[in-house]
Amino acid sequence: MSSPTAPGSPERRRPENAVAAQASGGLAGSGPPNPDGEPAKRTFAPDFLTELFRNPLDPGYADAAARKAREGEPAGVRKWANGSVAALTLVALGFLLVVAYQRTIADEPATTKARAALVEQVQQRRADTETLQSRADQLGADVSALREKELGGAAVAQLRDLESATGLSAVRGNGAKITLGDGPTPVNPLTGVRNTVGQVKDTDLQLATNALWSLGAEAIAINGQRLTATSTIRQAGEAILVDFRPVSTPYQVVAIGPDALAKAFRDSYAGGFFDELVSKYGMSFAASDVRGVTLDAANELKLRVAQPNPPLGSPNSPASSGSTRNAAVPHGKASEGGR
């Protein structure tokens, strides 16, 4: 363990010790007397950090070397004992390293376990959703098949027309496609506030869809989201929600309707309004004819308050309902709570 220098050769190491002793001068005053036998002079030591950077070695080594040089190497039992204690220390050190390593390895799963569990849950739920969706599709197909079998041809045709008109089934036809895009949104270099006046707002989309309805559109979808009688177009912060689902720029409003729908839209008030937005705020606007476009069915049309009026001529039609249309009967079922 210790330096194998024989006790009788301090001369050979003298210069080295001198250097080491000098290097340890930082703690002057507290150290042992110099090898020359003079008492240590009290000097102003450099401050702790300077000393730390300049001489990172424990000063004790230099002191010990100096002592050895003065008194000679410890011999016999003492040397052996020192060496074995040092060896034991190293055993403890190896032990410590292994324990720390094992702790680190053992801690690792605990931190990643939670995340892994969450990922697994997400995937599990996603798979569940997929199976449920496919089951719903299957059942829907079964229902329509059974309906066609049970009802007569005329009733089925009427049902299909109603479903198409209300947005409950996919429709196909010619019409117009209105494309609206955000204009530039410069950031004010002084305040850091983004100027969002060039962004498409929910009212713009509402204006476009209302104009299309008024021009004779029979089915409209915004970015693929079919609009129904209960659809909403709302702004939530910077996002626009169509039926509570976010849509983003560029907004494509596809409508099925009369052949000249696109031209009529351009000539209408809405067309002029968007032209002005384009020239003022740099938004993009385009209206073009589309042919043979298919609009998907709406995701969900769930009436929670309004109840379907019994068909005309039904014997148990409630006489109290004044009009045959719009018999909105409120029924506040708590379990039907809002989305």
Binding site: A62, A86, V91, V98
Partner: protein, 110 residues
């Protein structure tokens, strides 16, 4: 040679016994490792300088580990355990770097 053997013996003992650390001591383990590394690099450098001393090595190892653990303990009691841990790691890290640089100069003359 004996040093390396002793280190290996310690590693093997740790693997064989696979001790469980009491939870109360867990926060001090990383600090203790850093302190021990400081003592080891100091010892290696002293060896290369030709001034290695067994007693000094043992004492510096034990005192390093104990003092750093004590500092962290006191810091935990005072609510500044994290900051004091950082301080301990910085001081010991500076020393480790300095000693490793000296070792490097010894070994590679660069």
């Amino acid at each position: 040679m004996i040093a390396v053997l002793a280190l290996l013996v310690g590693v093997v003992l740790g693997i064989v016994f696979h001790p469980t650390v009491p939870p109360g001591l867990l926060p001090y383990l990383p600090i203790a490792v850093v302190a021990a590394l400081d003592a080891v690099f100091g010892g290696v450098r002293a060896k290369l300088d030709g001034i290695f001393d067994d007693k000094q090595f043992v004492i510096s190892f034990i005192s390093n580990v104990l003092v750093s653990a004590l500092i962290v303990y006191v810091g935990d009691q005072l609510g500044v355990g994290g900051q004091l841990s950082t301080g301990v790691v910085v001081v010991l890290g500076v020393r480790i770097f300095g000693n490793v640089a000296a070792i490097r100069r010894h070994l590679f003359r660069a």
